[in-house]
Amino acid sequence: MLELKKVYHYYGKAKALEEINLTVEDNSLDAVIGPNGAGKTTLLRAISGLEEIDRGRIIFNGERIDELEAHEIAGRGIAHCPERRRLFYDMTVMENIQLGAFTLKDKAKYSKLLDFVFEIFPRLHERMKQRAGTLSGGEQQMLAIARSLMANPKLLLLDEPSLGLAPKVKSRIFEAILQIKQEGTTTLLVEQDAVLAMAVADTIYVLEDGKIEMSGTREELEKEPRIKRVYLGI
């Protein structure tokens, strides 16, 4: 579904991404883990078109997308749920959800998605008319994911969905991620909490200092002593 080939990105002279090769298969849930500042967010921003890459190519369903603008990429079916939620805080929960479906023209599909979103996040249904800025952190994260789901994406990019949340809320969010996976939405997840990410992901990429240092399934990575020590704390 998604393929990155030798992608480089620089901030001025500083390398942010270096020779990134990455493939996301249909119906899979893949995760990128790594420390703060490793380039995880930049990677997602490059895919969704918020950052222009300097070299390499990004291919989505057979089409090169690295030269498209962000809204065009969104129109192709990639929904990027950004770091720190980035909701439309002065609008209501419902308006945020409606804007999520901005590219969706199919009315029937819209109500189906709405039902699904309210099924996995019943809290949002209760707070439909509330302004997004007044929600709690966990509810805001739910709304951000819901907004992305409303586009009926072929590929969902999730950036740090657990950031700043209490453990209980974190696991609630990850339950929802698993539900989304079961519905068949391909997902690429970026997460600092390696334990949580490895628990749900099919393929895991370890991003350090802008480079992919390792990749594999959970079983494969758990055998690596360095992963154990640095990321799993065993």
């Binding site: 969704s48 918020l50 809204h71 929904a79 950004p82 439309f88 804007l99 999520g100 901005f102 586009a151």
Partner: protein, 293 residues
């Protein structure tokens, strides 16, 4: 007292039309459009020229029809000018906000010279389309001004509803709150900004169509209208739509009041002093957000 009520309302209606679009464009894209007053100028002149042209055609003597055609020509021209200005000048310079300020200033200067060159530097008069006078609460004033008040109230209501309810309106609000997040849900932010510049041009164009008849027009008038729009917008809070409407009427009554209480010769300075005091006491404006850029 009745005078202040009536003339303040008229002034407020004009200011609302001028300021709403200016504030919208700033709120959506952070674009400070110094050609805003020039949009008023060019609309007024296109209307004037078209009336001139049409009345020279024999058989076309029904003035409301002539004026109607002229108004449509003027409004469609100014909306086109708005779109072209955005695509050709503002969008390429968007990254540096001073670039937008400079290029729109140059635009305003250009329109002033254009009007002078194509027409002449003299003042001209547009015959009011609504003839006669109206007497309300014992005050007599030109009926054209009543049309201005009605037109302004209708347009401001329509635009406010459009922005709060329609899909395009929602995308405009989304871009003004977080342009990047708006791109991520698939909104073309450039299109949205162009649309808001066009709406802004339409509103200021309507101000010209409704207010210029019965008044004198000259190449330099654009600057005065720009200053009014800018002041009201700062007064109400940059980028806040309810703020600029409220600000328009408060300013309208305040200037009319000072005209009567002090002296009309100070009416140029009083709004400026009001603005300065406002900036010092409450820099974000009446309804502006706390956080300034």
């Amino acid at each position: 007292m009745e005078e202040i009520l009536i003339f303040g309302t008229i002034q407020g209606a004009l200011l609302a039309l001028l300021a709403l679009g200016f504030s919208l464009v700033y709120g959506v894209g952070g674009l400070l459009n110094l050609a805003h007053g020039a949009f008023f100028l060019i609309t007024a002149y296109i209307v004037y020229w078209t009336i001139h042209l049409l009345t020279s055609i024999p058989g076309l003597s029904y003035y409301p029809l002539v004026f109607g055609i002229a108004a449509v020509v003027g409004l469609s021209s100014v909306v086109t000018i708005g779109a072209v200005t955005y695509l050709g000048l503002m969008k390429p310079l968007q990254k540096s906000h001073i670039g937008v300020v400079l290029v729109t200033f140059a635009m305003a200067f250009f329109f002033e010279q254009f009007v002078k060159f194509v027409g002449d530097p003299k003042t001209h008069y547009i015959v009011p389309v609504v003839p006669g006078t109206v007497t309300l609460l014992g005050i007599t004033f030109p009926a054209q001004l009543l049309a201005l008040v009605f037109g302004s109230v209708i347009l401001v209501t329509l635009v406010t509803l459009f922005i709060s309810k329609s899909t395009i309106g929602k995308s405009i609000r989304a871009v003004s709150q977080d342009p990047e997040a708006a791109e991520l849900v698939g909104i073309n932010t450039d299109m949205v900004m162009m649309t808001s510049v066009m709406i802004s041009a339409l509103l200021v164009g309507f101000a010209a169509v409704l207010y210029a008849p019965g008044n004198y027009i000259a190449p330099r008038i654009g600057w005065g209208y720009l200053l009014l729009a800018f002041s009201v917008t700062i007064f109400g809070g940059m980028g806040s739509i309810p703020g600029s409407i409220l600000g328009a009427y408060v300013m309208g009554y305040a200037t009319t009041l000072t005209d009567y209480l002090i002296s009309p010769s100070f009416s140029q300075i009083v709004p400026l002093i009001v603005i300065l005091v406002m900036l010092l006491v409450r820099p974000q404006g009446l309804l502006g957000k706390k956080r300034l850029q």
